[in-house]
Point group: C2
Chain length 232, copies 2
């Protein structure tokens, strides 16, 4: 029966990634409660039984309250539950993966974006480093066969911008010609005609594109990964 066993604490934590200055960043939030009071950690919270219809609602509410901004993409990542991940006892973290568009500043509210390559992430409280690694693996895996990276960009984007996200994620240099062919062979993006200039740089200005629908789209395989894919 439901009362015969100790109930674990349940939290919903969110790994929010953004692509800033050519590198992937993860959003951390300063804790306002003990334990680990005042330290930076993944934004998270508990279920409000009266307000939250389901887990995704909890995730969106936590993001809105603690961080704010426009979540371009959200999916459940994985649940982490064990006797020792939290000093208060058995707990479960239902973690979500969110993607947001590039922000000019790297600081907002009590939150900040930190490069995922930052060594200090290993010092995060609880198992939040492990959760971030899982989220990174998910992003790479999904990017390898889908248009996931468009959610790092604005509504309109250039093919060069899109290609650079893939190139960063997989540490490869993609052939511009093959990349365009791959993208166009699917019926997923369309030209934004009006106002086609995009840059304040030199050189030929790039054409602007946008997704035909805001959905994740399978592309079969964007690039060949040497030996990396794995799924959760």
């Amino acid at each position: 029966m439901s009362s015969s066993y100790l109930l674990p604490n349940v939290f919903v934590d969110i790994v929010v990634f953004s692509f800033i200055n050519g590198k992937l960043h993860v959003l951390l939030h300063k804790r306002n409660k003990s334990p680990e009071y005042g330290k930076y950690a993944l934004p998270g919270g508990q279920i409000h039984a009266d307000k939250d219809k389901d887990l995704e609602v909890t995730a969106r509410r936590v993001f809105k309250q603690k961080v704010g901004g426009n979540l371009r993409y959200l999916e459940q990542l994985k649940s982490f539950g064990s006797a020792d991940r939290d000093e208060r006892g058995w707990s479960v973290s239902v973690s979500y993966l969110g993607l947001v568009e590039h922000y000019d500043s790297t600081v907002l509210n009590d939150s900040l974006f930190v490069s995922v390559e930052e060594e200090l992430l290993k010092e995060l409280p609880f198992d939040h480093f492990e959760i971030i690694q899982e989220a990174l693996a998910r992003v790479k895996n999904k990017a390898s066969y889908s248009t996931l990276p468009v959610f790092f960009l604005g509504q309109n984007f250039t093919l060069v911008e899109l290609r650079e996200v893939y190139e960063y994620l997989f540490r490869v240099s993609l052939n511009p010609s093959a990349f365009r062919r791959k993208i166009f062979s699917q019926d997923i993006i369309e030209r934004v005609d009006f106002e086609e200039v995009s840059n304040n740089k030199k050189g030929r200005p790039a054409e602007l594109y946008r997704m035909k629908s805001d959905q994740l789209h399978d592309m079969g395989r964007v690039i060949m990964l040497p030996d990396e894919r794995r799924g959760g």
Copy 2:
């Protein structure tokens, strides 16, 4: 703080698939508690805070206690949590996906295997039908680019058996020649030399193979799916 909000009930439920008589089956277990006492549902249970180190241990314990047998594969599927999935109030089901080898019988203990095409699955308690659909999607997705289907088969298997699992999952007819080429182009299986006969059927007996390691292996893409892949 941990005490300021109502704690949801947390369950661990397992979707166990097996490939029996050419069709995918899911394992159901007769409930020995209310609610839904005596009805069939996914095998599941609660966390034993003293015995269970983490969620996967809980899943394996539940499987062992309620069903028993050799779990060839286990991975976390997804967590389902909402205010109304269980009449007792807010609850979270951390669900797992398990694969077992074909059983001769379809009945054991208080469990039985039911074809995933069975209409009656829609009548399962809670959101168990939805969980099964999610598990099915995961299996198909993962099978489309990996050797996941070997976990439906025994230690040794023939290429025809393996191909038939793929063919069933994707409702396609795969080219035997192309299939062999694909499998052998990866360095993942090896001949079992001794005792190479495999059948009591007519025709040329098939060669036996086994995985070189018991790990899931990425194959890039086994077949082209028309438009189906999606990930969780």
